[in-house]
């Protein structure tokens, strides 16, 4: 039994309040910060991943655990030196212009956040200009676009063109997804990656940025 077993348990349960309190008391007791991260939080998320893959945990529970971990991270982040601990990558995400459907986009955002990405969610009906401006502003590594309607898919191409015109196309990777979107469409509009569902989106994003 690890010294962080109650922290681990709280993260697995997605109990934010208890997990944050446990993290704080570990810090107060002088525990090593790296240990809190490795043996407490990451160990918990490993178990969550295992339980998810065997069907014992469902997506909402996994997302809750990930959010719980994020909240705990806020307490310990400050104690790491610059560069020791950084977000996996910065993602600007949104549903494209004239499309108001967002549950799929939200799932991707939540899953990516849970996996350690820093997310800027622009919401729905996001114009190519807004995508581009925000990407420049935050120094995005990835621009992720969602569309549910085949009629709004062309906005994905326009957004990529806007990124090009702004001169940042080579600095960001573009990911797209949504029910009518296909691998073929992605290569046709020269997006860097396409993912069929939220879980695959996380894997694809890691692959794009060379993160394991």
């Amino acid at each position: 039994m690890s010294e962080f077993s109650s922290l681990t348990e709280a993260v697995i349960k997605g109990d934010i309040q208890t997990a944050v309190a446990e993290t704080q008391s570990a810090l107060d007791a002088g525990s090593n910060v790296q240990d809190i991260l490795d043996k407490g939080l990451i160990a918990a998320m490993d178990e969550v991943g295992e339980k998810f893959s065997t069907g014992q945990m469902f997506v909402p529970q996994m997302l809750r655990s990930a959010k719980t971990m994020q909240e705990c991270m806020k307490l310990i982040k400050a104690l790491f030196q610059e560069g020791q601990l950084s977000a996996k990558g910065k993602v600007v995400i949104g549903t494209v212009r004239q499309d108001l459907h967002d549950i799929g986009k939200n799932l991707v955002a939540m899953m990516m956040e849970g996996a350690g990405f820093s997310i800027t969610d622009l919401g729905v009906d996001v114009s190519p200009k807004d995508f581009t401006q925000k990407a420049q502003e935050v120094g995005a590594d990835i621009v992720a676009m969602s569309a549910l309607l085949s009629t709004t898919m062309p906005a994905m191409r326009e957004t990529i063109e806007a990124l090009q015109e702004a001169g940042i196309r080579d600095k960001v990777k573009v990911m797209i997804g949504g029910a009518p979107v296909t691998e073929n469409f992605a290569s046709e509009i020269k997006a860097d990656s396409y993912a069929p569902d939220a879980g695959s989106a996380v894997i694809a994003a890691k692959k794009l940025l060379g993160i394991t």
Partner: protein
């Protein structure tokens, strides 16, 4: 699965009454042919009317009521470990596989072959694992056995691979005796077994309106020994019963009541299930059809007829003419299992594994039917409406434009609120392609392999197996 409400009825109360009255008229005026002098004598002594010349027994209404009143309205088909006891007469719907087929669609070869003893063990293993099948019925004829050892071996291997209740068709009283002695040894004594019988027997009259000597002996030995039994008529509309559904039901109800009555004459209070296996003929070419929609409606109606007398019913559903697990088998099975379940049958047999008009089985069909039954159970349990499920608080919290994915309310309810299929393919198109385009059948095949290719050991204790083999030399290894 407990029913919230009986949401469907095949017959109006008035029509139930008309059919029942006609059945009683059949029993009083036409009678049942009894092919064994001894039982004609027994029934005569008990007060039934005997027509010696044509070996018929007739039941006068008041006498019939008095005899039928002896039958229990509730009893339990026990499992060996107490985890899957089947409570009859408590407004619960249970499903069982079907029995005594002779062919199997073997996905190992893709073709049909005759069934063997190992198929009994394998189907028992499947039923033991499949959560929506409440008890095991001896599934098939073991063609690698001598007929005199069928029942002994069937029950031995079934009991070794499932702890659920085991029901089986028996050809004769000798088979019942062997099976009952075997079960006593496993139970640890006759008293223990009588107290909680974990085996039971299926027998059938011959439609129209005939009961043969073997069936009479089986009903007698089961009744007097305390073995739960059913005498289930299988009239075929258009062939061995009138070509009207109402007429078939009148005859079937008369036959079923006669089965209950005769068992109660032999052993008052005997645990007997009202039996029903009505089906139809396709009159175009006289093809026997068990998967017809009329079969579904009639079995639903049979539940109403049994419940008029408060008898637990052994009804039928889930049969098909299809020769493979396919579109036809899927829709025919679903229609009848759902319809009979919605009428509130205590036990629906044939509900899993069957193909080819009840002549064949397939392992894959067992697991597919388990999933169909899971969906039916979800329908039966209905929509739960209470303060928490109405969800005002969470709707207020999320408000317009948000989502419910990570809410406590979602996590609290998501597991019991929805049916989660094991076989139904729900992944999106790309994932489906990535996974090699799975189908319900391919996934069923994978699941069967997983359940059966596990080097699964038998459940009976090694010392007990030695004792059983010493006592019953007819038992064969797989």
């Amino acid at each position: 699965m407990p029913m919230r409400l009986p949401p469907y009825r095949s017959l109006s109360p008035e029509d139930v009454r008309k059919i029942d009255q006609t059945s009683r008229r059949i029993l009083e005026r036409v009678g049942i042919r009894i092919l064994e002098q001894n039982y004609l004598d027994i029934l005569k002594a008990a007060g039934a009317i005997i027509d010696q010349g044509d070996q018929k027994v007739r039941f006068e209404a008041a006498w019939l009521d008095e005899v039928l009143a002896r039958a229990p309205s509730q009893f339990v088909l026990y499992s060996r470990d107490g985890k899957n006891d089947v409570h009859l007469g408590e407004e619960m719907v249970h499903f069982a596989n079907g029995g005594r087929v002779f062919r199997i669609l073997d996905m190992g070869t893709g073709g049909y072959r005759l069934t063997m003893l190992r198929d009994v063990a394998h189907t028992a293993t499947l039923v033991n694992q499949l959560e929506n099948i409440s008890l095991y019925i001896i599934a098939c004829q073991a063609h690698d056995l001598k007929p005199q050892y069928y029942h002994l071996n069937d029950f031995y291997h079934a009991l070794n691979f499932t702890s659920k209740h085991v029901m089986g068709g028996c050809d004769d009283a000798e088979g019942v005796k062997q099976m009952w002695e075997l079960a006593q040894l496993i139970a640890g004594g006759e008293e223990e077994l009588r107290e909680k019988p974990f085996v039971s027997v299926i027998s059938n009259p011959i439609s129209p309106l005939t009961i043969d000597a073997n069936t009479l002996k089986i009903l007698n030995i089961c009744g007097t020994s305390g073995i739960p039994v059913t005498c289930a008529p299988a009239p075929i509309s258009g062939a061995t019963a009138p070509a009207t559904l109402a007429g078939t039901l009148c005859q079937m109800h008369a036959e079923a009541l006669a089965g209950v009555a005769i068992t109660q004459v032999c052993a008052p209070g005997a645990k007997v299930l009202y039996g029903a296996v009505p089906s139809t003929m396709d009159m175009r070419h006289m093809e026997y059809t068990m998967g017809s929609v009329e079969m579904a409606i009639m079995n639903g109606a049979a539940v109403q007829l049994a419940k008029l007398y408060d008898f637990p019913i052994y009804a039928s559903g889930g049969v098909t003419e299809a020769k493979r697990p396919d579109i036809q088998s899927g829709c025919e099975k679903t229609f009848s299992n759902l319809m009979v379940a919605m009428n509130g049958a205590d036990l629906i047999h044939l509900a899993a594994g069957m193909l080819d008009s009840g002549n064949s089985i397939s392992y894959e069909q067992y697991v597919i039917d388990n999933e169909i039954i899971g969906m039916i159970n979800r329908i039966l349990s209905g929509i739960s409406v209470n303060e928490s499920t109405l969800g005002f608080d969470v709707i207020e919290k999320v408000g317009p434009g948000g989502n419910y994915v990570m809410e406590d309310h979602t996590i609290e309810h998501m597991k019991e609120e929805f049916f989660y299929p094991d076989l139904g393919v729900r992944c999106n198109f790309d994932i489906w392609e990535e996974r090699g385009r799975p189908s319900m059948l391919s996934r069923a095949n994978d699941l069967v392999d997983e359940i059966l290719d596990d080097g699964r050991e038998g459940l009976l204790d090694t010392d007990l197996i030695l004792e059983i083999k010493k006592k019953f030399s007819g038992i064969q290894n797989l």
